[in-house]
Each structure stands twice: as structure tokens, then as C-alpha cells.
């Protein structure tokens, strides 16, 4: 039971309407982190990686029309709702909730601690309109708003491709977006937060990863682990020129670790790390 005495699944269900246009809803199905595989197979691992608490799935049916499915996830915290939303940013901004994308019959958005997917099993003009209308109705029913992860403020604004910003916890998710290593050389886990983003123009694109570990000691260990596995020739140097002629640099301070991949020059990499450090210090002060 939540603080207000309403079970979380009933609260989440209450945000989803009973009908959309001519479509009528079927009975809700409710899943937790241990049962989600029975509904979406191994894809459930993505949501578990973001600490999902609850999923309410509601199917809308109308004879002769494609079904529409609402999957509403209670992720427990806004930063994880934001994070799982950033897992798949392919699509156009639909202006729903606190961030949304629409593509191929699928609308995904986040608001407060909720991530919601509205999906039409076949895309037509009618289902496209219904999916977006349904999404707006669900978003409107969710009363609160959530803060995106504070770690996003570590990203320097200059050159940032804002549509590439992702928040994550675990190394399989990092590898999904940007393969670093087959083993967890950055010591990522459910207790760490990380932001990954791209910078610059196509062709000259670099990536920045900023990780917040649970302790300074853990961040220092992660830096050593990364250097050993990824930059073994670095000795004391911060940056190394890799096989593609670009530069990778790593630095840790306090609980934070930052890595720049594929910078055009060592100076560019160092400059970006300096900027991250400045922003984190500004945040603290």
C-alpha cells in the first residue's frame, strides 16, 4: 500500500482511461519485476535494469481495428522513468508528458516516476491519432512532475547533442548504446548512475560518459579498472590515441568518473573533462 492507502497498481490503473474512441479496454494485467518476463519475455531485463516496481498493461479492442496496448510502468523514481525513456529515443517528439517519442505506431513518454508506452498493433491514420490522444490523457491524469537525473547537469552544454542523452545504471545498457567492453570494466551497477551523450558534428562525433559511484573509493577503483582494460599503455597519461586515430581520456574525482571517447585531439578530451569537473563543482557549491 502506498502512503495514501491506495495500492500502487490501482493508482497506476486510475491514470488510464476505460475507452479511447471506439476502442474498449480489457481487464488490466499487473506485473512486478519477477513476473514481467511472462509478459514481455527477456525485454523485461531493460526495465529491471532501471529498478521497475510495477507494470500495468491494458489492452484496448475494437472489432475490425488493430488493438492498442498501454503499458504503464511505475519505475519508483523520476530518474529511472527518465532513464528507461532514454533507452529508445528513435522517433519524433509528440509533445506528451515530460518527454516523448512517436514512431511506427508506438508512443513512449515519461512523467513523474512513470514510463508509459502506448502501442497500436498496426499503424493507420486512425490508430496514430488514438495512440497520441490516449497518451495525452494518461499523461494528463498523472498529477505530478519529476526531476530528470541531477547527473545530467554534469554534461557541458557546448556541442551537446541533446537528443542523444541517456541515463543508465548497468553495463549491458551502456553496451546497448555504446559498446565499451564485454566485461564490467567501469564497475557499473544498480547503485551507480551514469549519463552518456554525444558531442559534435557527424563525422567528428565524440562521446562523454559520466558515472556517479557510491563512494570515492569505488570511483578510484573503476578508474584503475578502466585504465587497465582499455588504456593499458597510458601509464600516467590521461588520454590515449586509439586505433581509429581519435583520443580517449579518463579522469576520476570524488565519487565521479568521466570518460571521453573519440575526441579529435587530446586537448579536446581534456577540455571536456575540465568542463565536467567545473559543472560538478558548481553543482556542489
Amino acid at each position: 500500500m502506498c502512503a495514501a492507502g491506495i495500492p500502487p497498481s490501482r493508482r497506476l490503473s486510475s491514470y488510464i482511461p476505460a475507452t479511447v474512441g471506439p476502442w474498449l479496454s480489457e481487464a488490466d494485467r499487473v506485473y512486478g519485476p519477477e513476473t514481467v518476463f511472462g509478459y514481455i519475455d527477456g525485454a523485461g531485463e531493460v526495465y529491471r535494469s532501471y529498478n521497475m516496481r510495477l507494470l500495468v498493461a491494458r489492452r484496448f479492442h475494437k472489432d475490425g481495428r488493430p488493438d492498442i496496448v498501454v503499458d504503464a510502468f511505475d519505475m519508483g523514481a523520476p530518474e529511472d522513468a527518465f532513464g528507461v525513456f532514454t533507452h529508445d529515443l528513435d522517433g519524433d517528439d509528440a509533445g506528451v508528458g515530460q518527454g516523448s517519442v512517436y514512431k511506427a505506431g508506438l508512443l513512449a513518454f515519461w512523467k513523474d516516476r512513470y514510463f508509459v508506452s502506448v502501442y497500436a498493433e498496426a499503424e493507420t491514420d486512425e490508430t496514430r491519432a488514438a495512440v497520441v490522444a490516449l497518451g495525452r490523457e494518461v499523461a494528463g491524469a498523472i498529477p505530478g512532475r519529476g526531476e530528470p537525473p541531477g547527473l545530467l547537469r554534469a554534461l557541458p552544454a557546448e556541442g551537446l547533442e541533446t537528443r542523444t542523452v541517456r541515463f543508465l545504471h548497468t553495463h549491458p545498457i551502456l553496451n546497448y548504446h555504446f559498446f565499451v567492453a564485454d566485461e564490467n570494466i567501469l564497475l557499473l551497477g544498480r547503485e551507480t548512475g551514469a549519463v552518456l551523450a554525444e558531442y559534435g558534428e557527424a563525422g567528428g562525433r565524440s562521446r562523454l560518459l559520466v558515472v556517479r559511484h557510491k563512494s570515492a573509493r569505488r570511483a578510484a577503483r573503476a578508474e584503475a579498472s578502466f585504465r587497465r582494460a582499455y588504456l593499458p599503455e597510458a601509464s600516467g597519461a590521461e588520454a590515449v590515441r586509439t586505433e581509429n586515430g581519435k583520443w580517449t581520456a579518463v579522469r576520476a574525482w570524488g565519487r565521479h568518473l568521466a570518460v571521453v571517447f573519440d575526441a579529435a585531439t587530446a586537448e579536446e578530451a581534456a577540455g571536456r573533462l575540465d568542463a565536467v569537473k567545473r559543472r560538478l563543482e558548481e553543482e556542489r557549491s
Binding site: 531485463e45 528513435d90 582499455y230
Partner: protein, 301 residues
């Protein structure tokens, strides 16, 4: 941990040596470069059979077309012109046979494939009450509990966590806790094939490629936009070789659709590891004899 993790830089090294190969490396980690020079005599046979007949609403060709595709495939796979004789070399009348299918809502194995398989298992002399067809319930199914032989049939599709849903992965429902096999992008799925319920029992693998999914979106991993009518079946005694062949089709479709060599977001390395780590079968195309039958247009491999 292994002595040295594989990092992005390992792929950059390959790219520097051979630019075109390097572009594809993350996508083809499911295949094994280490065995590329295997002797030709060691080749494993895989049959790709396709038919241009229109697909029905369930995503399969008409039942008679599916039966013909399956029969042609089995004949070519086993080198036996009489299809019943061919099946009798796979299955005996005393066998108890489980046909492990896949009931995923959007792209199932299809009833047409299930019934075509069942018919030939019966032609091999197995009584109907000794044949079971199931997916999620195999551990509770009385036929599967007594099975002496298995036929493994499922569609290939891109997958958020394992790169692709494969024949190797199809046996995950024989594990008491399937999610326990999700670690490292399902790297060690092939070990499931050592479980007593399945070890040594598989007589035929059928990878259904009627409407493969080549790209995943959303919680359900699915958008119709990312499927196409390939209208094929891939058959092999070796699940790894069949999966490696299906993966080549998926990758070729991704290149065609996206216009570049875009890797699957999660490398389907469980296919390579099924070969190199678990020795379940052969993943290297150079060690696979691919026999292509039927409709050739758009075969992609």
C-alpha cells in the same frame, strides 16, 4: 573475469586493418572468426527453403505450401528423396516427441508449421498421444516430461537482451528459472542444452523466417514496420548453424533497411559462444554448407 576483456578497441584494431570488416564487427560477434579456415569436409548442412506464396493473416503461407517447404527442406537436409524415410531416420515409432514451438504473440511458430511437423512425426510411426506441442508449459507437459526426442521450431527475431531470439534460446523454457540465463546478454544459453530434459534429444531444428523481425522497439520489441515477408524456413540438425545462418539474413536486412552496416544493439554473442565455449554446434559460415531451395529473389544470403 577472463584474463583480458574484449573492448571497443579490439574492434577498432580490426577496423583499422580491414575497414569494411570493421564496420560490421559489433554486429557479427555472433559468428566465429577463429574457425574460418576449417576444412571443407567438416561442413554442417543448413537448408534454406523459400516459397513466394502469399502469407495468410497468421503470418504463414497456406498449410499445403508449408508442408511442401518442410518436406523439400528435410529431403535436402538428409539426402533422402522419400520424405517419410527421411523422417524415420530422425524419429522412431517408440519415441515420445515434444515439438517445442514459440507462442510469441506477434510472430509465433505458426500452427501451419506445428501441424506440418506433427504430421511427419506421425508418418514416422509415432502415435498421436505420444506427441506434444508446447512452448511456455514444457516443464509441466506430460509428453515433454517423458520425451525421448525433440523437434525445435521457432521464428528468428531481433531481441533487446539476447540480440536475436534464436533456436538456441528457444529451450530457455526448459529452465526452471529462465531469467537466470539472461546474464551477459544471454551469453551461455547453450548450456541449457545440457539440462536432462533436452540433452541429446533434438532431432531437427526449424528456424521460421516467414516474417522475421530485424529491429526492436518498445516494451514488446515489436513494430510491424520492422518485419518483412521473407517467406523462408531454415532447417538443420545443428541449431547453432541454423541460427548463424538466420542471423546473416537479419543483418543483411538491417543493412538494406538502414542503408549502413548498423549492428544489432545487443550483440547476439550467444550464437558464437554456443560454438566456441559450449561446443553445441558450428557458427562459422565458412564451415556451413548452405543449400538453397525454391524462391531465390531477395534471399539476401
Amino acid at each position: 573475469m577472463s584474463p583480458k576483456p574484449v573492448t571497443r578497441r579490439d574492434f577498432l584494431k580490426v577496423a583499422a586493418a580491414a575497414p569494411l570488416a570493421g564496420a560490421a564487427v559489433p554486429a557479427v560477434r555472433g559468428l566465429s572468426p577463429s574457425t574460418a579456415r576449417a576444412p571443407a569436409g567438416d561442413k554442417v548442412r543448413v537448408v534454406l527453403v523459400r516459397d513466394p506464396a502469399p502469407l495468410g493473416p497468421g503470418g504463414a503461407p497456406p498449410a499445403e505450401v508449408v508442408q511442401r517447404m518442410l518436406d523439400d527442406g528435410v529431403r535436402a537436409l538428409l539426402g533422402e528423396q522419400d520424405v517419410v524415410k527421411a523422417w524415420k531416420s530422425l524419429i522412431g515409432p517408440d519415441d515420445v516427441v515434444g515439438i517445442k514451438t514459440n507462442s510469441w504473440r506477434y510472430i509465433p511458430t505458426t500452427a501451419e508449421v506445428e501441424q506440418a511437423l506433427k504430421r511427419r512425426v506421425m508418418d514416422a510411426g509415432v502415435a498421436e498421444d505420444r506427441i506434444g506441442i508446447d512452448d511456455q508449459g514444457v516443464l509441466r507437459h506430460p509428453v515433454f516430461q517423458k520425451a525421448t526426442a525433440l523437434v525445435n521450431a521457432r521464428p528468428m527475431r531481433s531481441h533487446y537482451w539476447s540480440g536475436v531470439g534464436s533456436l538456441i534460446k528457444n529451450y530457455i523454457m526448459f529452465a526452471p528459472r529462465p531469467s537466470a540465463w539472461h546474464g551477459d546478454a544471454c551469453a551461455d544459453l547453450a548450456k541449457i542444452w545440457d539440462l536432462p530434459a533436452v540433452k541429446g534429444k533434438t532431432r531437427l531444428n526449424v528456424l521460421v523466417m516467414f516474417t522475421p523481425l530485424f529491429h526492436s522497439v518498445g516494451p514488446h520489441n515489436y513494430a510491424k514496420e520492422y518485419t518483412w515477408d521473407y517467406k523462408g524456413l531454415i532447417l538443420s540438425r545443428d541449431p547453432v548453424a541454423a541460427d548463424a545462418t538466420g542471423l546473416r539474413v537479419i543483418q543483411a536486412k538491417r543493412r538494406e533497411h538502414f542503408g549502413d552496416d548498423r549492428p544489432l544493439p545487443v550483440a547476439p554473442h550467444h550464437i558464437r559462444l554456443a560454438d566456441t565455449r559450449h561446443h553445441l554446434g558450428t557458427s562459422d559460415p565458412a564451415r556451413i554448407e548452405l543449400v538453397k531451395l525454391g524462391w531465390a529473389e531477395g534471399a539476401m544470403i
